[in-house]
């Protein structure tokens, strides 16, 4: 059973692809939690939503290819640019002229880009383990060819389209074991594997080949330099998805606050929900009070 039910839910139509969103609570300001990676759904924020909705108006949406959102059949259908515009469309649909944005991984990259391109709409951003081209990727993520078939798939060799198509459940079990290096994370891993079963390896492969935005490191730095609102960066020191260097650099460039979770992995909002919840509430309050002075 859910701890709290949405006060509003709906879809925005994005050229035939429905994007599902939910709204919880009715406080101020609007707080949009972004989780746009196809492998999970907005339920990945389930430990944050009930708490934060006591104080703010919380918006979540499902990524393309998962949850209640539609599944495009082309690589272009998963383009970062399109998904950032999905997020703006959701904010328009819920009538939020301004919002604090929180993102994780790819979503953390989006909130930086959104703050850069429409500063008048963004009160503050929190980036958790940002997926931004601010450092080389972690070596294990690029050590093996994603497209080449192999005789055996060990460890990160499973990051391979052929393996995905052959045994998607096993890949997700491996992947989320890596994402939660914290001991005793069985429930969090199970949850994520369950959400991954709501999408398909075919959709994941399309999403993996979608056009990236922005295109390179120089453009990413320029976007981060353009951010003017308060910034909080949360970084798991043991993150196996995004290079923790990216968090450090984002905090440096934006002059934002950096909180390192020593011993934490890629999804601290699930594994250390109390700490993340308290950080988020304090950050939102600070971001809003900064505005009103």
């Amino acid at each position: 059973m859910r701890a709290v039910e949405p006060v509003e839910s709906g879809f925005v139509d994005r050229d035939g692809i429905p994007i599902h969103y939910e709204v919880y609570g009715d406080g101020e300001p609007t707080l949009y939690l972004l989780m746009p990676d196809t492998i999970v759904s907005s339920r990945a924020w389930k430990a944050q939503v009930p708490f934060l909705a006591r104080f703010f108006r919380v918006v979540v949406s499902d990524p393309r290819g998962n949850g209640g959102s539609g599944t495009p059949s082309t690589e272009e259908g998963y383009a970062d640019r399109l998904q950032i515009d999905d997020a703006w469309a959701v904010l328009d649909a819920v009538g939020a002229a301004q919002a604090v944005l929180v993102g994780l991984c790819t979503g953390a990259g989006y909130v930086v880009l959104m703050a850069a391109e429409a500063p008048e709409r963004v009160l503050g951003i929190c980036a958790i383990n940002p997926g931004l081209q601010l450092s080389p990727p972690l070596p294990h993520k690029v050590a093996f060819d994603f497209d080449a078939p192999r005789d055996n798939y060990e460890g990160w060799q499973k990051m391979n389209r052929h393996y995905w198509l052959a045994d998607w459940p096993e890949f997700t079990a491996f992947f989320f074991a890596e994402m939660f290096p914290e001991p005793h994370s069985s429930k969090q891993r199970e949850d994520c594997v369950g959400w991954a079963m709501q999408t398909t390896p075919e959709a994941m492969i399309l999403a993996g080949y979608s056009p990236p935005y922005p295109g390179d490191e120089a453009q990413t730095i320029a976007a981060a330099e353009a951010v003017r609102c308060p910034v909080l960066v949360i970084c798991g020191s043991l993150d196996k998805c995004q290079n923790p260097e990216r968090s450090l650099r984002l905090a440096e460039i934006t002059g934002g606050e950096l909180v390192v979770i020593d011993g934490g992995g890629h999804l601290p909002q699930a594994r250390d929900p109390v700490k993340v919840n308290l950080l988020l509430r304090e950050f939102v309050r600070r971001a809003v009070s900064g505005r009103s002075h």
Partner: protein, 414 residues
């Protein structure tokens, strides 16, 4: 924060105050906790006790005139979740609690705000899983003495769960053992509501310590807390008269605890009533649906009456000639303490009812256990009721000073 106001009270001006958290999974926690709270107030005059509680615990607290903290309204309901997880007479308690994770986070956050806003000398958590777990995960959030109460220690796998559940239960137990080893200071008291022999004879999991040995080394024992003095023969007779039963009637009380999970068993008993009355025409059935089952949803049977919530159910149980109940600890122990014959039907896949409670009842020599499949045969259940009714029983006696002993342990912390 703009416009915010705050008062800091100088330490010596603060009144003594405790916050009581009583698990709503099993209504029995509420009754024993009220008894402990009453004892604690006599030990610590002037002590103010607030309750952070949810339905159906709030129902018991309201009857007892206790103070419910307004932030209780923000708690997500654990009972509703457990009911949602149950089907027929089956509740996989371990998995249901695992799947309650977002409710536990929500409720811990409510708790955390409450202890931020009010000075509490002591927090008492009777199976307040959220508070104990997340304090150990966030030790810097402790700013009060914390006493943990429970009547069982150790998640135990059910056979149907196979090897995977063995590993999972062991992992949960290992996490708890690691938390306790690293952060002794998080709990100022660990109180087992029962006696050392009540603990099951099993390890926490492969390669982990024995539950009994570890618990004896890490807990204090209050004895069982019934929350009442066993009623006298006169009191029992008065209850029967109040309820409208004649001396020659044989009264069978049917109750399934405070949650809505027992609905299926109530129907099975209803199926058996006509047969049981054919075997023993003097049998009269009083079916107590509890605060979360609509009495109107149950069929009507000759010789039976159905009621919703019954205040002081323990008195009614003490006045019965036989009872049919679920395998919950409190109701079974109330019957054991009152020396009444009873049949208990544990929820299938409920590790606490099937292992922990059953072990304890066997130690007392109390009750007759029936599996749900067996109890679903109306003839078998009717026959068991007919055999048990008015049977002379001689259970090991249940202590009556448990609440006072628990309160004495708590009083030292204020």
């Amino acid at each position: 924060m703009k416009g915010s106001r705050h008062t800091w009270v100088r330490a010596q001006r603060r009144g003594r105050r405790a916050l009581f958290l009583s698990s709503p999974i099993g209504l029995g926690h509420a009754r024993r906790d009220v008894a402990i709270a009453q004892e604690l107030r006599t030990l610590v005059p002037g002590l103010q006790i607030d309750w952070l509680a949810q339905h159906p615990v709030t129902r018991v607290l309201a009857d007892a005139g206790e103070t419910i903290h307004p932030a209780s309204a923000w708690l997500a309901n654990e009972s509703a979740h457990i009911e949602d997880e149950s089907a027929d007479h089956d509740l996989h308690a371990f998995q249901a609690i695992r799947r309650m994770d977002e409710i536990l986070v929500n409720n811990f956050m409510v708790f955390n705000d409450v202890v931020d806003e009010t000075y509490y000398d002591l927090v008492i958590g009777d199976e307040a899983w959220d508070v104990d777990y997340f304090l150990h995960e966030n030790p810097e959030l402790k700013r009060f003495a914390f006493a943990w109460l429970t009547d069982f220690v150790g998640w135990l796998p059910m056979p149907a769960g196979g090897e995977a559940e063995v590993a999972l239960a062991a992992d949960y137990n290992a996490e708890m053992l690691e938390q306790r080893a690293r952060y002794r200071r998080l709990r100022d008291a660990s109180i087992f509501v029962g006696n050392p022999d009540d603990i099951v004879d099993a390890p926490f999991g492969p390669g982990l310590p024995e539950i009994g040995e570890w618990t004896r080394a890490n807990y204090e024992f209050s004895g069982y807390v019934t929350g009442f003095v066993p009623p006298s023969a006169e009191q029992r007779a008065a209850v029967r008269t109040r309820l409208g039963y004649r001396p020659e009637d044989r009264l069978c009380v049917v109750t399934v605890g405070g949650s809505g999970v027992g609905d299926a068993l109530l129907h099975r008993v209803m199926d058996a009533i006509p047969l049981a009355r054919r075997l023993r025409p003097e049998l009269k059935f009083l079916v107590v649906a509890g605060p979360r089952i609509d009495p109107g949803s149950l069929p009507r049977r000759r010789g039976s009456s159905v009621r919703g919530f019954v205040r002081d159910l323990y008195l009614v149980l003490a006045a019965c000639d036989v009872a049919v109940v679920q395998g919950g600890l409190t109701t079974c122990m109330e019957l054991a303490a009152a020396q009444r014959p009873f049949i208990y039907v544990p929820l299938e896949n409920h590790f606490e009812q099937n292992f922990h409670v059953r072990h304890r009842l066997e130690r007392y020599g109390a009750g007759r256990c029936m599996r749900y499949a067996e109890a679903s045969d109306p003839a078998a259940l009717a026959e068991a009721i007919a055999e048990e009714v008015s049977r002379e029983v001689q259970y090991r006696s249940v202590e009556t000073d448990g609440a006072a002993r628990a309160a004495a342990l708590l009083g030292e912390l204020i």
